[in-house]
C-alpha cells in the first residue's frame, strides 16, 4: 500500500509496479487529469491545496474498506498539490486483483469515495479570475 499527497509529478508506472503482486492478474488505474474547461470556462491552470496528513489517513481508511469489500490484492493512491497545468495528473488510484472485475469496481469506488471525503481543494484559474471550487453546487466529476 502506498498513500501520498505530494507536490511532485505523479508517476503511473510506479503505482502499477507497487500494487502488482505475483498473484495479480489485473491492475486497474485511474488518472484524474486537469482539463482545459469546466462549467463553460476555459481553465488556465489549477491549484490544489490539501490537509496532507488527514488526506493520507483518509486514503488509508478507504483502502482498508475496499480491501474488506472486494477480492483485491493491493491499493495505492497519490494526490498532487500545488499548481497543475492542463494535462497533468492530480490523482492516481491503482488497484491490483486476481481478476479484473474486482480491480475495476474497487478502483472506481475508491476514486468516488476519495473525492467525497478527502480534505483536498482545487482553485480554478482562468483569464481574469480564479475561484476555489467547493461543494455540491459545482461540478463533481472528472
Amino acid at each position: 500500500m502506498l498513500f501520498e499527497v505530494t507536490s511532485a509529478v505523479l508517476d503511473p508506472q510506479r503505482l502499477i509496479d507497487h500494487v502488482r503482486k505475483d498473484e495479480s492478474g489485473a491492475v486497474a488505474l485511474f488518472s484524474g487529469v486537469v482539463r482545459n474547461e469546466n462549467l463553460g470556462r476555459r481553465v488556465l491552470y489549477l491549484e490544489y491545496d490539501s490537509y496532507q496528513e488527514m488526506a493520507e489517513q483518509v486514503m488509508r481508511e478507504i483502502a482498508d474498506e475496499a480491501l474488506a469489500r472486494w477480492p483485491i490484492t493491493d491499493v495505492a493512491m497519490q494526490h498532487r498539490t500545488g499548481r497543475l497545468e492542463i494535462g497533468e495528473a492530480s490523482l492516481l488510484v491503482a488497484v491490483s486483483a486476481p481478476h479484473r472485475k474486482a480491480a475495476f469496481e474497487a478502483c472506481h469506488a475508491l476514486v468516488d469515495r476519495f473525492k467525497e471525503v478527502a480534505p483536498v481543494w482545487k482553485k480554478e484559474v482562468w483569464e481574469g479570475g480564479e475561484e476555489w471550487i467547493e461543494g455540491e453546487a459545482v461540478n463533481r466529476s472528472g
Binding site: Y51, M54, K115, E116, V117, A118, V120, E134, E136
Partner: protein, 85 residues
C-alpha cells in the same frame, strides 16, 4: 493551554494565514474555536453553515471538545462531492 488551528484553501486566503493558535479554556469545542478565530479574522465570519471540523485529523462535530495540544482544522466543502462522509 493552546490548541493549533489549521486553515486551507479559501479559508486560508480569507484569514491570510494557514495556521493559528487559540487559547483553550475548560469545555471549549471545535465550533467555539471557529468563533474565536472569527474575532481575530473577521473575513472568516458567516461560514458556519458550510465548514466542517476535524480534530486531530478526524472529522468531528462542532460540539467536539478541544483540549491542550489538539489540532483543529476548519474544512471547507471538498470539491469532489457532497459533504456526507
Amino acid at each position: 493551554m493552546k490548541a493549533r488551528v489549521r486553515l486551507f484553501a479559501r479559508l486560508s486566503e480569507l484569514a491570510g494565514t494557514r495556521e493559528a493558535e487559540v487559547e483553550v479554556g475548560e469545555g471549549l469545542t471545535a465550533g467555539e474555536v471557529y468563533r474565536a478565530l472569527c474575532g481575530r479574522y473577521p473575513a472568516l465570519s458567516g461560514l458556519n453553515g458550510s465548514i466542517r471540523y476535524a480534530v486531530n485529523g478526524e472529522y468531528a462535530e462542532p460540539g467536539h471538545p478541544v483540549g491542550e495540544g489538539d489540532e483543529v482544522a476548519l474544512i471547507p466543502p471538498v470539491s469532489g462531492g457532497s459533504h456526507a462522509v
